[in-house]
Amino acid sequence: MTRYLLLAALAVAAVAAPFFVYPILLMTILCFMVFASSFNLLLGYAGLLCFGHAMFFGTGAYIGGWLMKEGGLSIELAFAATTLAMAALGWVVGLISARRGGIQFAMITLAISQFVYFLLLRAPFTHGEDGLQRIPRSDLFGVIDVSSNLSLYYLILAISVAAIWFFYRIVHSPFGEVLRAIRDNEGRVESLGFVPERFKIVALTLSAGLAGLAGAMKASVYQIATLHDLSFHVSGTIIFMALLGGLGTMAGPMVGAALIVMLNDHLAQFGEWALIIQGVVFLAVILFFRRGLVGELQAFVRRRAARSAA
């Protein structure tokens, strides 16, 4: 019951928010929530640390932007096409990397993301260091104008909710169950007749599609796609967001994403110190509260419930 009340309150807040907060900031938060959830699917539920996750986000921004600017696609088609394209990239990356588990998966995905970075630096359609600029906010279904910040906000909100619902369904499906089992004991899962490698590849495909969608949304919000979007810096930030909020919890990485986006908005003026503070908090999370904010909160509630039941 409290859960539905909470969801209803969140829905009201999300609809009313753009009248109180700058819509661009809200849309940035939504994009990173979807992006962080896609990362959570891999590390939080499948135990796979993708150290170059920004490759899907950044490439998604370029492809979505290019489809709207040069391809003349309507916004929903551009988003859908980007999602499919990045899912395909995720599948290919999975084929290369999924055979090696754990720590090597992290190193390989990092190297592949660097490869994609250099590839896009050279590709003519990205305009190199300048980035893809003046990306239009194409009409929805070719008829509905979403060029204002407010109307685009509601579109991004709707798509983000759908994406997160999709993520929720994946995690709570039998497939998600197997993923968690692989994370906890891969040998056991294999002995039950599953092929962990295939599950990992599918997880990476789904996650990459979601991350690509987040990137395409970001391109429509800022109307620009740059190499920074797929830099290692962004890959590091997304890991930080997920860990701070709490890996393996539905809401954790999203809370982390919202916090970090708002924090960066305030800390931008401090320049170098912002990164140092981020590093210190990151380290503190790893050393002292690995469950993250939401994870620690859940553990606290569970402890209290156990005590009052006793």
Binding site: L43, G47, L49, I96, S97, R99, R100, G102, I103, Q104, A106, M107, I108, L110, A111, I112, Q114, F115, F118, L119, L121, R122, F232, G236, I239, L243, E272, W273, L275, I276, Q278, G279, V280, F282, L283, I286, L287, R290
Partner: protein
């Protein structure tokens, strides 16, 4: 196509490739030792290499200690710093998934690089070559210092390999990696040995930094770009394979140099293409037996 000019270009790029390869080999060697013996993926390796270069620079500018002194002092200083890192942030994570120690060293990089940029700015600082001049070999000009780097780093790589594979100390280390409880029951302090192994690997990174200072500009970000290449080298060579790391380091440096001659646009990509091909053809690494990968 092998007229006089392109021959010069080819040999020049081969030399640059060999020098880059020397750094790849030394750094991936340290990374492989640390991973192979204590199972920490040391993402801070590039930052520790950068610290080595800065220690050399500060020793010269503030204490007047020349390059040859720094060659001994800087690795010790950086190694001690590594020991401090190991005691404070890696030790508490020793019994957890290796992903946490990787992320902890990654967070440490953010802090170290940020503080260094705050103090020294992000532009590169010059370090005068201790061996100015060079020799004309007829077909190309070889600066003395670059020749020294190639010879010295090769010597360090061979010495380290011999230390691990052929000495009693190395045997203890390898045994502690396989069965720590049994080695401990022989009265050997395994945790201390692991800490010192980390410090040794970090010291190697610091030594690499001193070697690099006169060739590349000394800057806070000099290690982070190298880091990703080193990761690729270690993946290609097979995780934890020390000989594999050394050979792959030189191989990648030379291949990179050759790509600059024949297809310059792809020189940044060459390493990663090799990594992907190697992963498809030899999923356990070029120099690693199937059972040694985990």
């Amino acid at each position: 196509m092998f007229d006089h000019i392109s021959m010069q270009l080819l040999l020049g790029q081969l030399l640059i490739g060999l020098i880059n390869g020397s750094f790849y080999a030394m750094l991936s060697l340290g990374l492989a030792i640390i991973f192979g013996l204590i199972h920490v993926v040391n993402f801070a390796h590039g930052a520790q290499y950068m610290l080595g270069a800065f220690v050399a620079l500060l020793l010269l500018n503030h204490l007047g200690i020349p390059y040859w002194g720094a060659l001994f002092i800087a690795p010790v200083v950086v190694g001690a710093f590594g020991l401090l890192m190991e005691q404070t942030i890696l030790k508490p994570l020793r019994h957890l998934d290796h992903l946490y120690s990787l992320l902890a060293t990654f967070a440490a990089v953010l802090i170290i690089e940020g503080l260094m940029r705050l103090e020294f700015g992000s532009t590169g600082l010059p370090y005068a070559s201790p061996l100015p001049g060079g020799v004309n070999l007829g077909f190309m000009f070889l600066p003395y210092y670059r020749g020294w780097v190639v010879v010295f780093s090769l010597a360090v790589c061979i010495a380290t390999w011999l230390l691990i594979e052929k000495t009693k100390l190395g045997a203890y280390l390898r045994a502690a990696n396989e069965r720590p409880e049994i080695v401990e029951s022989f009265g050997i302090n395994v945790p201390r040995m692991m800490s010192l192994t980390y410090a040794f690997g970090v010291g190697l990174a610091g030594l690499g930094g001193v070697l690099a200072a006169p060739i590349y500009q000394v800057s806070p970000s000099m290690g982070s770009n190298l880091m990703i290449v080193i990761f690729a080298v270690v993946v290609i060579g097979g995780m934890g394979s020390i000989l594999g790391a050394i050979l792959t380091g030189y191989l990648i440096g030379i291949v990179e140099g050759l790509t600059k001659v024949f297809y310059p646009e792809a020189s940044n990509l060459a390493i990663f293409v090799i990594m992907i091909v190697a992963l498809i053809l030899r999923p356990n690494g070029l120099f690693s037996s199937p059972e040694s990968s985990r």
